[in-house]
């Protein structure tokens, strides 16, 4: 419509030439699209740059021996076995607590709870719990598990329980509860309602439906959530600062004691704690050791996360509804 205005004013040969207003509009659109692409690049480029920098500087120490040897001389020499295995048990321990409770809670929210104030309150508390700062979780772990639960446990069992794997796992478990509830709920919600109705119509009860239809169909989604929980548990530092992680604990260099170095009742070493201490609290720490443990921690997290990504892509590929 505005093109007619152009042709009458200037007598131009092209009656469809854009007016100044139109070309300004479209160039603004293109410019803004590139600006937003630039914002994406602001995220991508530093991430790549930082990762390359860290792995480049860590390269001299990275080897299988570095993973397999115990740290010595306050982490200035040796490898990372003791903190690595500590992180492994921490993750397993926290999963033992959080996975069953979180999955059942998600089943309740998605399958049982009716729309109403109760469901709404639970949803708000899940998001609130997800927003609680990690250091506050640490304080909670100290106040609840270390100062209240452990003395009771020591009295009941007759042996001394120190802050260690048990308390740290419980603290991390509370922290990861909302993560696993949210991801499981999403996975359950992705199962079409018609599946449930069909099952009910065949005479199955609610629990039978969940067991035979809902859970099998959402299993990979639930697994993805669990994997994300693993990567989060492995990297957290603040919650375990006061609840059992320590910088040095003797770990045997061979035999079964090397594979099972920690009891639940004594302090343990963890990757995140190790990185925290060696990166800023020990003087004359060789640069390559700092970068080495940072690179191993990042590598570990990326390795675990890539499982989740692959699982999700595979899941989307075989989805039939």
């Amino acid at each position: 419509m505005s093109s007619t205005a152009v042709s009458t004013e200037s007598g131009a040969t092209n009656p469809f030439a854009p007016t100044a207003y139109e070309s300004r509009r479209s160039s603004a659109a293109i410019r803004n699209k590139w600006i937003m692409f630039g914002f994406c690049m602001i995220l991508v480029i530093p991430l790549l740059g930082i990762l390359i920098d860290i792995f480049w500087k860590a390269w001299p120490v990275l080897s299988l021996d570095y993973l397999w040897e115990n740290p010595s001389n306050k982490g200035k020499e040796g490898g990372l076995w003791a903190p690595l295995v500590g992180t492994f048990y921490l993750v397993i321990g926290s999963l033992l607590f959080v996975a069953p409770i979180g999955i059942l809670a998600a089943i309740y929210l998605n399958e049982y709870a009716k729309e109403g104030w109760m469901n709404r309150t639970i949803s708000i508390t899940v998001t609130t719990l997800a927003g609680v700062p990690s250091i506050v979780h640490g304080l909670f772990g100290l106040g609840a598990f270390v100062l209240v639960m452990l003395p009771a446990l020591s009295q009941a069992t007759g042996t001394k329980w120190e802050a260690g794997l048990l308390t740290a796992s419980l603290t991390i478990a509370v922290m990861n509860l909302p993560v696993i509830i949210t991801s499981t709920r999403e996975a359950l919600g992705a199962v079409p309602h018609a599946f449930r109705e069909a099952c009910w119509n065949l005479g199955a009860s609610r629990w039978q439906t969940i067991r035979t239809i809902v859970l099998p169909n959402s299993l990979s989604g639930i697994l993805t959530g669990i994997i994300l929980t693993v990567s989060r548990a492995a990297g957290e530092t603040a919650p375990i600062l006061f609840t059992g992680a320590t910088f040095f604990k003797f770990v045997a260099d061979g035999g079964m004691a090397k594979l099972f170095p920690y009891t639940p009742a004594e302090p343990f070493m963890a990757m995140s704690m190790h990185l925290n201490i060696i990166s800023n609290q020990i003087s004359q720490m060789p640069e390559k050791m700092k970068y080495g443990s940072a690179a191993v921690l990042i590598g570990l997290i990326l390795f675990v996360n890539s499982f989740a990504i692959v699982l999700r892509v595979w899941l989307r590929g075989r989805k039939r509804w």
């Binding site: 937003m36 995220l43 927003g131 009860s205 629990w207 995140s272």
Partner: protein
């Protein structure tokens, strides 16, 4: 819903079916676990802080920057958390100034413009950003970004750049930033940490806008950018606001990254590259030195309560905002 009696009789005994009732109760119980968790967190932190609550000079706590928990013998301890509060909110503010435009822009690009492989790659990058643990971000701030910031904000005394920096409050002295770990470094690190959250939540909010809105805008002759600005932004306003608030909540509560990257100096910053100290970092750094049950220990728990209240407030507010948009859509 229950099966007819005849069908039930014919079926053989199944262990999993027989435990239906107890399992339902277990599921109900676990469903309340998050309520229990929040209540327990508040109760146990309050329990540790409680003896100090009536004894603390609250006006001093919120208005004095003098944080001297372990004074020299003969002097009184002073618990003034103003500098810590200022430290928390200035780093958060800088983080938001960077993270909100970048996060919203990236979310718009990913949800409205990017297609195919580019979209998938960007989503994976955002996910990786979210997965990097906070201690690693702190390490990056300390070892990678800190030296970079220090390099940029260093000047010959008396040079033009030093005058510009001092006039614009970019650095407080004429030689530039005194150390690499400071307000700006911490803010940038916090921005990189809260961007993934803002992006993924904003993307959800944009996806929740019905496609008919986009089609209507296109039919009226709007180009993609105009659709975003005039249609999608207003329609997804509350969701985007909530995303930014949750990003802010994450920045306020972040601990290990700011512990390593902000310089840990208890003062009110006068310039962009002054070292600061946040509430979270103070708890993390000082809890190990306290004696269980003394005033210092309890004041750190009070700081924890302040943090808990701030982040809960942010979360509940953002939840109410999202609820508001749902109501608006129904009407």
């Amino acid at each position: 819903m229950a099966a007819p009696a005849s069908a039930r009789k014919r079926r053989s005994f199944n262990l999993f079916d027989s435990i239906e009732k107890p399992v339902e109760w277990l599921i109900r119980l676990c469903g309340w676990s998050s309520i229990l968790g929040i209540a327990a967190i508040f109760a146990f932190i309050l329990k540790e802080a409680a003896p100090m609550v009536p004894n603390l000079d609250w006006i001093h706590f919120f208005t004095s920057p003098r944080w001297i928990p372990n004074p020299a013998t003969g002097n009184e301890a002073s618990f003034g958390a103003l500098a810590l509060l200022v430290g928390t909110f200035t780093t958060t503010g800088i983080a938001l100034v960077i993270a909100v435009p970048v996060g919203l822009g990236a979310a718009v690009y990913i949800s409205e413009f990017a297609k195919g492989k580019v979209k998938e790659t960007l989503k994976i990058v955002i996910e990786l950003l979210a997965a990097i643990p906070s201690i690693v971000w702190g390490f990056i701030g300390l070892m990678v970004l800190g030296p970079l910031v220090k390099g940029v904000f260093t000047a010959e005394p008396g040079s033009l750049w030093s005058k510009v920096m001092v006039t614009l409050h970019l650095a407080s002295s004429d030689i530039g930033a005194s150390q690499g770990t400071n307000l700006l470094t911490g803010g940038i690190i916090l921005a990189l940490m809260s961007v993934p959250l803002i992006v993924s939540l904003s993307e959800d909010a944009l996806r929740a806008v019905p496609d008919s809105f986009r089609e209507a805008a296109l039919a009226l002759g709007a180009n993609p950018w105009e659709t975003v600005r005039r249609v999608l932004f207003p329609a997804a306003r509350n969701g985007l606001l909530a995303a930014c608030m949750l990003g802010m909540g994450r920045a306020v509560g972040e601990t290990m990254a700011v512990l390593l990257a902000t310089g840990h100096s208890n003062r009110i910053p006068a310039a962009l590259t002054d070292p600061v100290r946040t509430m979270t970092a103070t708890i993390a750094a000082e809890m190990g030195e306290t004696v269980h049950g003394d005033d210092h220990y309890r004041v750190l728990f009070i700081l924890g309560i302040v943090l808990f209240v701030i982040t809960c407030g942010i979360n509940v507010a953002s939840d109410l905002i999202v609820k508001g948009v749902k109501k608006g859509n129904k009407a």
